[in-house]
Amino acid sequence: MPLLLFALAQGQGQFVPFTGGSVGQETLPATPLIYAAYAVVWLVLLFYVFTLWRKLGKVERELTDVAARVRTGK
């Protein structure tokens, strides 16, 4: 029995493709979890790219502006 518990506590060591036909008998539906996971990935990455692009544009505009002020001594 302890040996069995030890075996059960091990993490999965290999992924095997499912070949048994339909996988429609699962109790907790997987599809909403998959959609949620992919939505998170897309939203996080798009939000980050958008904010990074905006910040970069703002800083570079300000940099050009301040550099011009330094050159003219104002």
């Binding site: 506590a9 493709p17 070949t19 998959i34």
Partner: protein, 219 residues
């Protein structure tokens, strides 16, 4: 050179990410986990990208501590921020996968806990940069080295300790139908990572130049 490559990298990443859902839809379900296994493709790719970013941050932070190079500091800051972004994806998609395949959202096992700790260390790096004031570059570089050194430990944690999380053996043993899809997603994440690193490093350099100019203006 890198600045000219960024749009190309972003377009390539968009193409890869755009086609990935079709590959994932057609890929097989996993024998014990079922369809929810398909979260693996983005979860593991973002985890590896986070670990890569952690290593980049550690190397750049060490270079900054040794040579006080501003470029190294900018690279370290960019890598730390991206480690937090990709780490957030890992820490959100992981529980969504775990809820179905393990039956619970979270488990305090070695891999999950060490990933959370590493993510918190990179978050502290960013908080230090924002709020520690003068000398925050040095303080955060020290944190960056320690946080980055955790990366190999996080990766090997599933082999060192007994965990609920799958071991590192799952990647080399992936069957061809799964491996191709995963590599496709990984390439997308890496393309995006390189593009974002270039953009974030440029932002850090521009911000530093702006600070210098403000100081020159005050003088």
């Amino acid at each position: 050179m890198m600045n000219r490559l960024v749009p190309i990298l972003l377009i390539a990443a968009a193409v890869v990410f755009g086609y990935a859902p079709f590959l994932i839809r057609d890929s097989p379900a996993e024998d014990t986990m079922g369809v929810v296994f398909k979260i693996f493709y983005f979860h593991v790719s973002s985890a590896l990208t986070m670990m890569l970013s952690a290593v980049v941050c550690a190397i750049a932070s060490a270079a900054y501590l040794r040579r006080r190079s501003r470029t190294a500091d900018h690279v370290a800051l960019a890598a730390a921020e991206l480690a937090v972004v990709f780490g957030a994806i890992v820490l959100i998609t992981g529980p969504l996968w775990a809820r179905k395949s393990w039956g619970f959202w979270w488990v305090w096992d070695a891999r999950v806990t060490s990933t959370l700790v590493m993510w918190m260390m990179f978050s502290s790096y960013l908080l230090l940069r924002k709020y520690a004031g003068v000398g925050s570059e040095t303080l955060s570089a020290a944190v960056g080295v320690f946080a980055g050194v955790m990366s190999p430990l996080v990766y090997k944690s599933v082999d060192i300790w007994r965990t609920q999380h799958p071991t590192t053996n799952v990647l080399p043993s992936l069957p061809p139908g799964m491996r191709g899809v995963w590599l496709w997603c990984l390439v997308g994440f890496l393309l995006l990572y390189v593009a974002l690193m270039a953009l974030r490093t440029r932002l850090a350099a521009s911000q530093a130049a702006l600070d210098d100019l403000h100081l020159a203006l005050e003088d």
